[in-house]
Amino acid sequence: MGDLVPDAETRPFWDGIAAGELRLQRCEDCERAVFYPRALCPHCFGDRLDWVTSPGTGTVYSYTVAHRAFGPSAGDPPYTVALIDLDEGVRMMSRIVGGATVRIGDRVELEITRLGGEESPALPCFRVKESA
């Protein structure tokens, strides 16, 4: 999993994951959540962004089961990559862990996991909590 390269702007997010927390930005002007981290709110162009800790709950917007994998971040297929709509109103790409069959609309919860073993970085993955 050689594809995680935090930078000055995103390090607070990845430090949060390493510490077991999903941290999102929140715009003080329009009060909307912002993901991924950035310098300006993409909703209102405001530049007053705070960090808040998310409970890490959301809904599966879509998913795919990868049967072929290419590139350095490829795991052992088949595995499920999903788009998760967090309850704060932002969408993120992630991996579904825990082995359950996934469907669109499933409720999921955060499970921070090292997909590539102990030497690999901690990543915000999700597990199915309640099937649609």
């Binding site: 993901f35 991924y36 879509s62 990868a66 350095p72 788009l83």
Partner: protein
């Protein structure tokens, strides 16, 4: 666009497509450029604008201009994936209308198959990619698979409906001696091919080939000297909705919903006026979403539109008449081949090959898609 100086495609050519280890991205573009200019009866020194896309150089337009010995006074390296070339055509047309240039050369070349670069490790993720790459989505197919599953969920669409797109493309490819794959296929063949990223099978995916192409655009002042029937650029629109698939606002609606109406409005045409469609077919799902976003059918109904044979040879809305990226060729950024095929159809180049020629074709819509449904660019072309 009345009152402004008009622009038309006056020459098109591709280099060899398929597997071309004897060619480079530069020699492909050189061969295609020479052939396209020769067809038009123009000389290299007539070219005063160069349009290039690709990631094979830190500045592709500079590298290619030097290689070809051109000193263009107008450069455009707009790089929005496979839709770059429809954007280039729109930009070239605007520059011609404004009187800035007279003759533009648009080119593309790729050696992705010979280089095996499609599956080569990419550089470490940077900036926004760090929020996608660690999760192992096979790119780009996985992104399109996410869109397909969402489309299935919202509209009850099925893998059979996706497969019909590949079957229709193959029927056209059978009529094109230059197509990489010409053997007939069925829906069952598509569904029986290996699953790559659920629900997309191998035959839902475009080919991986080498190849190059060139398109020459000229101002109307030059048309009297031209050796071909000019194909006029009547309208253009382009947009982007996202870069990463995770940030696409609605996985079932593409930028075609903006670029399509913009191009058709500029051209002053409606859906019923069009004689053929050249629609970017990176994956079967790309085509269904594009047909709906362009307004050729209602959301969820494109599968039926294709299943009825409307886009296949003999149908009332012929689409991807060279076999498309699914069966003809796909060297990574396919958009220039859409323009080449539409131009030939509108010139009636296949008049001696009636099954391939869309009879009496006067108006075509050409639609490029780039990235992972990220950018779209639409042009309307007309036989002048």
């Amino acid at each position: 666009m009345t009152g402004r100086r008009r622009a038309a495609i006056v020459g098109v050519a591709e280099s060899e497509v398929g597997r071309t280890p004897h060619l480079t991205v530069l020699s492909q573009q050189a061969r295609a450029s020479k052939a396209a200019l020769a067809e038009a009866g123009l000389r290299p020194e007539d070219v005063n604008a160069l349009f290039v896309a690709g990631n094979w150089s830190w500045a592709p337009a500079l590298t290619l201009a030097e290689y070809l010995g051109l000193r263009p006074d107008y450069l455009d390296g707009t790089n929005i994936g496979g839709s770059s070339f429809e954007a280039h055509l729109g930009h070239a047309t605007a520059a011609i209308e404004a009187g800035l240039i007279d003759v533009a050369l648009i080119t593309y070349g790729s050696t992705q198959r010979s280089n095996r670069s499609r599956s080569a490790p990419r550089p470490p993720a940077t900036l926004t990619e760090q929020f996608d790459r660690p999760f192992g989505l096979p790119q780009p197919v996985g992104a399109y698979a996410l869109a397909a599953n969402r489309y299935f969920h919202q509209y009850g669409a099925t893998g059979e409906q996706l497969a019909e797109v590949a079957v229709s493309a193959r029927q056209w490819a059978a009529l094109n001696p230059d197509a990489c794959h010409r053997d007939p296929i069925t829906v069952d063949d598509v569904l029986g091919s290996p699953m790559i990223s659920d629900p997309l099978h191998l035959l839902d995916c475009c080919l991986v080939t080498d190849g190059g192409g060139a398109v020459v655009v000229a101002a109307e002042d030059r048309w009297p000297d031209i050796g071909t029937h000019p194909v006029e650029v009547l309208g253009h629109g382009e947009t982007t909705t996202h870069s990463s698939i995770a940030q696409m606002p609605d996985l079932t609606v593409t930028g075609a919903a903006r670029s399509g109406p913009a191009a058709m409005k500029m051209a002053g045409v409606t859906h019923d006026d069009l004689d053929l469609l050249e629609i970017y077919d990176s994956f079967t799902i790309t085509v269904l979403l594009t047909l709906e976003s362009l307004g050729f059918c209602k959301p969820g109904e494109a599968g039926e539109f294709v299943r009825l044979g409307r886009t296949a040879p003999g149908g009332d809305m012929p689409m991807n008449t060279n076999g498309g990226g699914l069966s003809y060729t796909h060297p990574g950024m396919y958009g220039i081949f859409l323009l080449i095929e539409a131009t030939r159809q509108l010139r009636h180049d296949f008049a001696s090959d009636p099954p391939r020629q869309v009879e009496g074709a006067q108006l075509a819509l050409v639609h490029g898609t780039g990235g992972v449904l990220s950018s779209t660019s639409t042009v309307v072309l007309g036989r002048s």
